[in-house]
């Protein structure tokens, strides 16, 4: 399927091949973005250049430039209101839905500027999924929730949909808990189950990247642990960028950390390094709870 994959990144060819699903997804993402010449896997999934985000006159994100590595978990931390969610939303153009939001700069996804007028934000969001702070299943059955993303892509093959629903629920560690009640309303599930359902729903369309905005902040420690475990497993197949207020969580699950403060990306680097920053630096003080 993939003709030549030049290994340029952390992740090797065999890993891509091992997962058939992954290979399909990769090619799909590239063709959708009209960039058929790049059959290799980039080292960086997102390259962000001089990103500014404004709401009316208020600047929420200030001149951020960063490259986000592929196939790792990248955590975004920082005090409340510093622009983490705004930054995350800009990566699948959910900011477009906010009437007075304005954005300048470039965000390259697989090397393609997603704010290019030729790029359809609808197609982009099918490649870059999102999971929100509050679990937000649709008021449909569990099955219909997971199948929704496929249905809107005009996939009519019932067997394929059923297969994909099962697979996605398994990937989200939810299958065993719901396999006997797929036709039951999703809103009857517990908060943690609902959140995993939302992850399953996002996974069903084979996204390339998953953006998670404080996905565990409304969950108890047990449900949180389950989601962390699942993200650890998923990162082999999907790029994961997660906003979290839980520093321990960032430390536990992420390979890279970006630290925001009042709209600026103050620090970005491997998690280990970030968490070893001295108490003199802003990150150090934030991590030690001295400010923020």
């Amino acid at each position: 399927m993939i003709v030549k994959i030049v290994n340029k990144g952390h992740y090797t060819l065999w890993r891509l091949r091992r997962s058939h699903m992954n290979a399909l997804r990769c090619v799909h993402a590239l063709t959708i973005l009209g960039n058929k010449n790049r059959y290799y896997m980039e080292k960086h999934i997102f390259e962000i250049k001089n990103l500014n985000i404004y709401y009316h006159d208020f600047q929420a994100v200030k001149n951020v430039s960063v490259a986000i590595p592929s196939y790792v978990i990248t955590a975004i931390i920082g005090p409340s209101g510093c622009g983490k969610s705004s930054f995350l939303r800009s990566m699948n153009r959910m900011n477009d839905l906010i009437p007075n939001a304005k954005l300048t700069g470039e965000i390259l996804f697989h090397g393609v500027n997603i704010y290019d007028p030729l790029i359809s934000e609808v197609n982009l969001r099918r490649r870059v999924g999102m999971v929100f702070q509050k679990p937000n299943p649709f008021p449909f059955s569990i099955f219909a929730n997971v199948a929704y993303g496929l249905k809107i892509q005009n996939i009519k093959d019932k067997a394929m949909i059923a297969e994909r629903v099962e697979e996605s629920l398994k990937r989200a560690f939810l299958w065993d808990e719901v396999k006997d009640r797929l036709k039951k309303p999703a809103l009857e599930l517990s908060g943690g189950q609902q959140q995993r359902l939302c992850i399953a729903r996002a996974l069903a369309v084979y996204p390339d990247t998953l953006l998670l905005d404080e996905p565990c902040s409304s969950l108890d420690p047990l449900a949180t642990a389950k989601i962390e475990e699942l993200l650890q497993k998923l990162k082999k197949e999907v790029n994961i960028i997660i906003v979290t207020h839980n520093l321990q969580q960032a430390k536990r699950i992420s390979e890279y950390v970006g630290f925001f403060n009042s709209g600026e990306l103050v620090d970005f680097g491997p998690t280990k390094e970030i968490f070893e920053r001295s108490a003199q630096s802003m990150v150090g003080r934030y991590i030690q709870g001295i400010f923020g």
Partner: protein, 293 residues
């Protein structure tokens, strides 16, 4: 001493409020009582079987027939035409206002709809009779001067604001997070509107329809003016018909003496009207309470 006066004051206020509440209840019960009393008197002279199954309604002729079916078909015909227009248009307009229109367009549309809702029904009646019917006659030459289709269409326009505003409320109650989830999965605006918002708000929308139907069935002036006064057991929208309400108008405004059979017949048909609208209202209430959010 002070405490005592305070308590009596409270008591008096409570009594006044209680009385106001009871008053509306008594009025309603009183009206119902009179209607059903006169109805029982009517059924002492006319058999229930004839009332329900005869297809002729001729209370003012020398040979009297009391089959309510022509009035019911007339009523449902006009209401049906009205709903056929108001339901799709109303829901589409509500979706437009909710998902597509920006704040500016909304600010214009809302008051326009309120004005539409505030027009007296007699104006709608003459609009149907003097504007819509002549226009339709150019398209359908066989159309009579009084007919069901013209007041039906105008009634659709008349109940449109109600359908729009109630559906708009139902759509507005769908949580924003749900729409965001749909957009994040790569839904187009159209898909969000029709695959998420509409199903999620379905019970509210159906409740809006029910209330609109009962309004359409109870509407009087419009049909009395433009639909004719000729009871006909037909579903043909091109000929004159009579609805329950316009029959009641006809008898109440005419010189029918109190206590005659014709006089009592208006209470019998009023009972029918009451039962029909009551059923639709109950369904609507049930659905509105079952709204999930």
């Amino acid at each position: 001493m002070y405490k005592h006066t305070f308590q009596t004051k409270e008591k008096i206020i409570e009594l006044i409020f209680g009385f106001c509440g009871m008053f509306s209840l008594f009025i309603t019960l009183g009206i119902m009582g009179i209607i059903f009393w006169e109805t029982t008197l009517f059924f002492k002279e006319v058999s229930l079987f004839e009332f329900m199954f005869s297809t002729q309604w001729t209370p003012l002729f020398s040979i009297k027939h009391f089959g309510v079916l022509p009035l019911i078909t007339g009523t449902l015909l006009v209401a049906g035409i009205a709903m056929a227009i108001a339901m799709p248009t109303g829901v589409l307009m509500a979706i437009f206002m909710n998902e597509y229109a920006n704040a500016k367009v909304r600010r214009i549309l809302k008051p326009v709809l309120e004005i539409l809702a505030g027009i007296p029904t007699i104006v709608y009646g003459y609009f149907a009779l003097l504007s819509v019917t002549p226009f339709l006659q150019k398209v359908i030459p066989s159309l009579s001067g009084f007919n069901a289709i013209s007041p039906g269409i105008v009634m659709g326009i008349m109940i449109l604001p109600m359908v729009v505003s109630l559906s708009d409320d139902a759509f507005g109650a769908v949580p924003k997070e749900m729409k965001l989830a749909a957009y994040a999965l790569g839904s187009s605006r159209f898909q969000v509107a029709f695959k998420i918002i509409l199903p999620a708000a379905m019970s509210g929308v159906i409740a809006a329809f029910m209330l609109a139907i009962s309004r359409a069935i109870g509407e009087t002036m419009l049909v009395a003016i433009a639909a004719g006064m000729k009871p006909a057991f037909t579903l043909n929208p091109l000929v004159p018909i009579q609805t329950i309400t316009s029959y009641i108008v006809q008898i109440s405004l005419g010189d029918t003496p109190v206590g005659t059979l014709a006089y009592r017949s208006i209470f019998a048909v009023a009972s029918v009207l009451f039962i029909i609208t009551f059923i639709f209202n109950v369904i609507a209430q049930k659905l509105r309470h079952s709204l999930k959010y």
